[in-house]
Structures are given as C-alpha cells and as structure tokens.
C-alpha cells in the first residue's frame, strides 16, 4: 500500500508537468499566488462562520444562514487551493514529504475537517433548537474556537514551509 503511494508520487514527480513547474521561472510563483488567494478565501470564510459559532459576529443571523451564505465560497476556494497545492506538491514531492511543516500542515487540515464533521454529525444534530441564539451551547463554541486555532496553525505551517525548504 505504502509502496503503491510511493510509486504514484514518484510517477507524478517525474511527469513533464512537474518538470515544467520546477523549471519554469514564472509557473511556480504563479501557481503559488493562486494558492495564496484560494487559501485566504478558505481561511477567511471559515473564520467568519467560526466567529458566529463563538458568538462574536453576525449574532443576529442563525448559524445555518451565516454558513449557507458563505460555504459555497469556502468550497470553491478549497477546490482551487487543493489543485494549486497539488501542483506545487508534485513539483518537489520528495522534498515536501520530508519537510515536517508540510506533513503537519496536511495533518492539521485533516483535523480541521474532522472537527467540522464531528460538529455537523454529532454536535449540531439539535441545531434548529439553538442556532438563532446569540450565545450557543458550549459544544458549538468549542468547535468554532478549535477551528480558528487549527486554521491559524495551517497558515503558520504554510509560511514555515517556505523558510525550511529551498525549492528555488
């Protein structure tokens, strides 16, 4: 299984596409800039929902209306971040995988996703009963606070990758 993953990564890293991103002076910063724009929209929009959960913003709107107005933007931006991030990754896959901040960033994104699933699947089962209140139950505030911390850590790791890896 691990061998398969290893071969798959090697296949992409040796592809002409990865070679182009590595060698072209313009392509890497261009994809990186798109990645930054997408990440900003992902993190910014999630932060607004988290602030609503914490009772610090948009308290006059219900949780589902705040989330409903924003999540389309979050998911579209996440798709762009994932694709641009994937392209940056295959250009130097071996080096990225050896970088602890890169691995930490992936794990933190996974943790943020898990936090979201736990919130939607378990904590928010009775959401219609409390979602209009300004002050939400502890489990909702906890999910919001944890999400903010995880995404701040994701951005920090992203920045630290740039200082601990010399790709260019």
């Amino acid at each position: 299984m691990l061998q398969l993953l290893h071969d798959l990564i090697a296949f992409f890293e040796d592809s002409a596409l990865a070679d182009n991103i590595r060698e072209n002076d313009l392509l890497f910063p261009l994809i990186e800039s798109i990645h930054v724009v997408a990440i900003c929209l992902v993190v910014g929009s999630i932060l607004f929902v988290d602030l609503r959960l914490l009772g610090l913003a948009s308290v006059h709107r219900s949780v589902s209306r705040v989330a409903g107005g924003i999540l389309a933007l979050t998911w579209s931006a996440f798709a762009v971040a994932l694709m641009s991030g994937g392209l940056l990754f295959i250009s130097n896959a071996t080096k990225y995988l050896a970088n602890p901040y890169f691995v930490a960033k992936l794990l933190l994104i996974g943790a943020a996703g898990l936090n979201m699933m736990v919130f939607h699947g378990i904590s928010a089962k009775d959401m219609p009963e409390w979602e209009n209140k300004a002050r939400l139950p502890l489990r909702a505030r906890f999910a919001g606070g944890l999400s903010i911390l995880l995404w701040i850590a994701v951005v920090a790791c992203g920045r630290w990758i740039g200082f601990t890896m010399q790709v260019h």
Binding site: S33, L41, G44, R65, G69, V155
Partner: protein
C-alpha cells in the same frame, strides 16, 4: 538622487536595533508574515463577500446594505494590523521591499482598492439618498468587479515580492 536617498534609508533601517532583532531571531519574520496573511485573508474575504453580494451571487435574501454594514467597516482596523506587520517586515529586510518595484505596485494597487472599498461602503449604505438609480447600479457593479481584481492583484504582488527582490 532619489535612488541614493532610498538606499541610505534602507541602510539606516537595517542598522537599527529593531531591525537587528528581527533579522537575528529566526521565528519573528515567519510569525509576523503569518499574522499578515491571516489579516489579508479576513480583509480579502470581506471584500469578496460584499462584491459577490453586489452581483447577487450570495445571500440574496439580505439587502446588500446589510452585507456591506457587516463586512466593510472591519476592513479599516484590520488594515491597521496589516500596516504594522508590513512595517515590521520592511524594517527587518528593508532592501527586500523598498528597493523592489513589485512592492510599489502593491502599494499603488492598495490605494486603488481602498478607494473602491470606500466608494462601495458609501454607496451601499447611503442607498436611498442617491437619486440616479442607473448610475448607482453601474458604479456599484464596476466597483465590486474592480475590487475583486485589484485585491487579487495585491495578493499576487505580495507573493511576487519574494521573487523580484534585489540581490
């Protein structure tokens, strides 16, 4: 003449004790950059949400003026955080930005973006007072579209500073 003065400013900044601290303590620059990017994320998302609402792409059940009132005013205090963290980054590595044309492009785009934000904030919140409906529609849609493009340009320029720095 201007070039020489700018280089002297860089040398002077780089020789200050604050700059020395920023240069030698390795976690300061990435930390300040992280705060800078997180602030950019909030500011950029706020602007984009208002721009998308102007184009009726989200939150159609709420008047655009409400969205503008929720998301545009916080832009100004966040801008202050960006100016402080940005200044610290300049003091730490003055030549990286002050001798870099991409940095000046970013600042010029920022000035345009702020004017567009002020126009949107004014127009959306003073809606009933403006007499000419068509002119207002045109101004708001133009400002919203330009706002997304100019803010994206600022983010691109920000990333590009790292690739165009002098020596």
């Amino acid at each position: 003449m201007f070039d020489v003065a700018l280089k002297e400013l860089c040398n002077w900044l780089a020789a200050t004790s604050l700059s020395h601290t920023i240069q030698t303590v390795s976690w300061i620059i990435p930390t300040v950059q992280t705060i800078h990017i997180l602030s950019v994320a909030v500011l950029f998302t706020s602007a984009v949400l208002v721009d998308l609402r102007v184009w009726r792409l989200l939150d159609r059940d709420v008047p655009a003026s409400d969205i503008a009132r929720r998301f545009l005013p916080p832009i100004w205090p966040i801008l202050l955080v960006l100016l402080i963290t940005g200044s610290l980054l300049i003091v730490g590595e003055p030549r990286r930005s002050l001798l870099n044309s991409t940095f000046y492009l970013k600042m010029a785009l920022l000035a345009v973006a702020l004017v567009l934000t002020a126009i949107l904030q004014w127009s959306l919140s003073s809606a009933p007072k403006v007499p000419n409906k068509n002119a207002r529609w045109l101004a708001e849609h133009f400002a919203a579209t330009a706002s997304i493009l100019v803010w994206s340009g600022i983010l691109f320029a920000g990333r590009w500073i790292a690739y165009t720095q002098a020596g």
